[in-house]
C-alpha cells in the first residue's frame, strides 16, 4: 500500500553522557526532533548555543503531514540555511480555488504583488523539511541529535531541569539550564509537569490521504464544498513534489475508523473523485479529528514549550507547522541572549506574550474555518448555504466563504519589546509586524534585504537618518550606502525616506521606527528590545 518515499532509519549512537557517574549538564536540551524541535536546534546552534536534541524515534515524520510551507517559514528557513532547498524541491503555489458542487465559486491569489523571493507557499512533505533540517544540524554539530532517546522523566528545578532518558541500552540522566519541549501534541514533558491543555475537540472526522498520481491538475489549492463526488461534505486536493497529491475528505462525525481505513473503501472514494481512468496508488492515509488547545503559559520556569506541545489547531489554514516554526524563530534569539548574559531572563516572558497572542490568533482562525466547514448547529448550516449560494453572483459574499484562512506571519501587536510609534505613519510595518523582504542592490549586485538583516539586531535607515551608528552589536543598513533601492520597493514597503529608521529584531520583526531619531531614542528602544525597559 505504501509507495513513493523511502524512509531511512537513523542510527542510535551511544553518547558519552551515558557513561558518566554523574549526569552531564547541557545549556539547552530540546525534547523532540520533529519539524519544530529541529528548527529550534538549528536556530540555537547557529547562534552559538550548544544544544542536545532527544528524539524517541529513528525516522523522520511518517506521512506528508504539514505540507504547506508559508512565506514566513521560508524566510525563517532561509536564515537557517534550508530555504533554498525547500524552494527548489517544493511545489510553488499562490492560487487557491473554491468550488461549490461542480462550479468554481472563486479563485484567490495569496501573493498579488511582485518583487518577492518567496512565494506565498510551497508544498513540501514534512519528511523532506525534516531531512533538510537534520542535515543542516549535522553540518553545524554532528553530535547534537540523539535518536532513540526517549524522555521519560522531567524534574523542573528553580535554576535547572533534570531529565531521565531511556535508550535501547538503558537509561541515563542529564541536567540542563533550559529544556525546550518540542515533543508534539501528546507532549511527555507537558504530562510530566502536570500541565492542563484546555481547549475544544471537534467531532467531525476527516480522511487524509497521499496518493501518487501523474496528473495535469495545476499546482493550486482546490477546495470543494459539497462536490458531486462526495455529496454534502468537503474535499481538498493539493499537489506535492514527486507526483504526490494530498486529498482530504470530510467524513462526518459518524465515520468509523476500521471501515474508513479499509483500502477498498478509500480507493472507491478516490475513484469517485478522480474518475475511473486515472492510475494512482496510495502512499499514506489516516483518519483524524482535530482539537484546538493551548497551554495557558508557554514558559514554566526553565521549561519552555514550542509547537504542538504548546498549542494545537485544525489543519485548515496551515497554522500548525508554520506556527511552530515561528515559535522557534521567536524564542531562539532570546534564549541565546539570556544564555550569553546579554539580556535578563525576563526577556523570555515576551516569548509567552508574543507567541501566546499568535496561538490565540491561529486558534481563532482555525475554529472559524472549522465552524464553516462543519457547521455545528442549524443556524450555521443555514447561513453557510446562504453564503455559498450568494457567492456565485455576489462578490461580497466570497469574503465570508471560509475554507481555511491561510497562515501569514504573526504581528506582535501587544509586544513589551516594541516601542510605540510617536507619530502617525501611513506606510510600512508597525512595531511588532514582520519587516518585509525586498529586492535590493548590494555592491552592484542584485540581492535581498533580508540577507543583510540575518541573525542580529539591525537598523534599516535612510541616507540622512542620524544617530543610528555607534550602538553596540547593531548592524546598520543604510540606503544609498550599504544598499541601493533600485526598484523603489524598499521605499514603498517601509515608507522609507532619507530620515526614516527602523529597528529590526533578530527574528526580523520591527521593534521600533523613527523619523530623524535622536541617539537617546534609539538607545531606549534597544534597551526595551532586550528586555531592559525602564519600568
Amino acid at each position: 500500500m505504501t509507495e513513493g518515499f523511502h524512509y531511512r532509519t537513523y542510527a542510535y549512537a551511544r553518547s558519552a553522557d551515558q557513561d558518566r557517574a554523574r549526569p552531564a549538564h547541557h545549556p539547552v536540551v530540546v525534547a523532540g526532533g520533529g519539524l519544530v524541535g529541529l528548527t529550534m536546534a538549528v536556530d540555537l546552534v547557529q547562534r552559538g548555543v550548544k544544544v542536545v536534541v532527544l528524539d524517541d524515534g529513528d525516522q523522520v515524520s511518517v506521512g506528508s503531514r504539514s505540507i504547506c510551507v508559508a512565506q514566513r517559514t521560508l524566510e525563517i528557513f532561509n536564515r537557517l540555511g534550508v530555504g533554498a532547498r525547500c524552494r527548489a524541491k517544493g511545489v510553488t503555489w499562490n492560487t487557491g480555488k473554491v468550488f461549490r458542487g461542480d462550479r468554481l465559486l472563486y479563485a484567490f491569489d495569496l501573493q498579488p504583488e511582485g518583487g518577492q523571493r518567496n512565494p506565498a507557499f510551497v508544498n513540501l512533505q514534512q519528511y523532506y523539511v525534516e531531512i533538510y533540517l537534520i542535515e543542516r544540524l549535522a553540518e553545524l554539530d554532528p553530535a547534537a541529535l540523539r535518536w532513540r532517546n526517549r524522555v521519560e522523566g522531567v524534574i523542573a528545578r528553580e535554576d535547572h531541569v533534570e531529565i531521565g532518558i531511556v535508550t535501547p541500552e538503558g537509561g541515563y540522566r542529564v541536567t540542563c539550564d533550559w529544556l525546550i519541549a518540542a515533543d508534539g501534541v501528546r507532549s511527555t514533558v507537558r504530562g510530566a509537569l502536570g500541565l492542563p491543555f484546555p481547549g475544544e475537540a471537534f467531532d467531525d472526522r476527516f480522511l487524509i490521504t497521499d496518493i501518487v498520481m501523474k496528473s495535469a491538475f495545476p499546482p493550486e489549492r482546490w477546495f470543494w464544498f459539497d462536490p458531486p463526488f462526495h455529496a454534502g461534505r468537503s474535499a481538498l486536493l493539493h499537489k506535492q513534489p514527486d507526483d504526490v497529491w494530498r486529498i482530504d475528505l470530510q467524513l462526518g462525525p459518524e465515520a468509523r475508523r476500521e471501515e474508513e481505513l479499509r483500502e477498498d473503501r478509500i480507493v472507491a472514494r478516490l475513484r469517485a473523485m478522480l474518475g475511473p481512468e486515472v492510475a494512482f496508488s496510495i502512499a499514506w492515509s489516516s483518519l483524524y479529528t482535530f482539537q484546538c488547545r493551548r497551554l495557558k503559559h508557554f514558559r514554566h520556569g526553565r521549561v519552555i514549550f514550542v509547537g504542538d506541545a504548546a498549542h494545537t489547531v485544525s489543519p485548515f489554514g496551515a497554522r500548525g507547522g508554520n506556527g511552530g516554526v515561528q515559535d522557534a524563530d521567536n524564542l531562539g534569539w532570546k534564549l541565546a541572549a539570556v544564555l550569553a548574559g546579554e539580556a535578563p531572563e525576563a526577556l523570555l516572558g515576551s516569548y509567552d506574550i508574543e507567541r501566546g497572542q499568535a496561538a490565540d490568533e491561529n486558534i481563532l482562525n482555525s475554529k472559524r474555518a472549522t465552524d464553516f466547514i462543519a457547521p455545528k448547529m442549524p443556524a450555521m448550516a443555514l447561513f453557510r448555504e446562504a453564503v455559498l449560494d450568494l457567492a456565485t453572483e455576489h462578490a461580497f459574499a466570497r469574503a465570508f466563504v471560509n475554507s481555511g484562512r491561510l497562515s501569514v506571519a504573526a504581528a506582535y501587536t501587544d509586544s513589551p519589546l516594541s516601542t510605540a510609534d510617536t507619530e502617525p505613519w501611513n506606510a510600512g510595518p508597525a512595531p511588532g509586524a514582520p519587516a518585509p523582504d525586498s529586492p535590493v542592490t548590494i555592491d552592484g549586485r542584485q540581492g535581498w534585504l533580508h540577507d543583510l538583516m540575518h541573525d542580529g539586531t539591525t537598523i534599516l535607515c535612510g541616507s540622512r537618518a542620524q544617530s543610528c551608528d555607534g550602538h553596540l552589536s547593531v548592524r546598520v543598513v543604510r540606503e544609498g550606502d550599504d544598499v541601493e533601492d533600485a526598484t523603489g520597493l524598499v521605499a514603498r514597503r517601509y515608507g522609507l525616506d532619507s530620515t526614516v529608521a527602523y529597528l529590526v529584531r533578530p527574528d526580523g520583526h520591527v521593534a521600533a521606527r523613527f523619523r530623524d531619531p535622536t541617539h537617546g531614542a534609539v538607545t531606549a528602544a534597544l534597551a526595551r528590545l532586550h528586555g531592559r525597559a525602564a519600568a
Binding site: 443555514l382 448555504e385 446562504a386 449560494d389 450568494l390 455576489h394 461580497f396 459574499a397 465570508f400
Partner: protein
C-alpha cells in the same frame, strides 16, 4: 441602538419585506432572511454598525422572550 437614518417610506419597505416572504415555506423564508441579512450587512459597509445591529437584535429578543 440609535437609528442611523430614518427610512423615507417605512410602510413600503415593511410591505416589501412581507411580500418577499409570502407564499414561502417556513424553511425557504428562513433561507430568504439569511440572504437578506448578509446583503444588508454588506450594504451597511461598516463593521461596527453591523456588530451593533447584531447586538441590538439579540438584546431585544432577550428582553422580549428571555432567550
Amino acid at each position: 441602538m440609535t437609528t442611523r437614518r430614518g427610512l423615507a417610506r417605512p410602510d413600503d419597505i415593511y410591505q416589501a419585506l412581507m411580500a418577499a416572504q409570502s407564499g414561502l415555506s417556513p424553511e425557504d423564508a428562513e433561507r430568504f432572511r439569511a440572504r437578506l441579512i448578509l446583503i444588508l450587512a454588506d450594504r451597511l459597509g461598516d463593521d461596527a454598525a453591523v456588530a451593533e445591529a447584531i447586538a441590538a437584535a439579540r438584546q431585544d429578543l432577550r428582553r422580549a422572550t428571555g432567550a
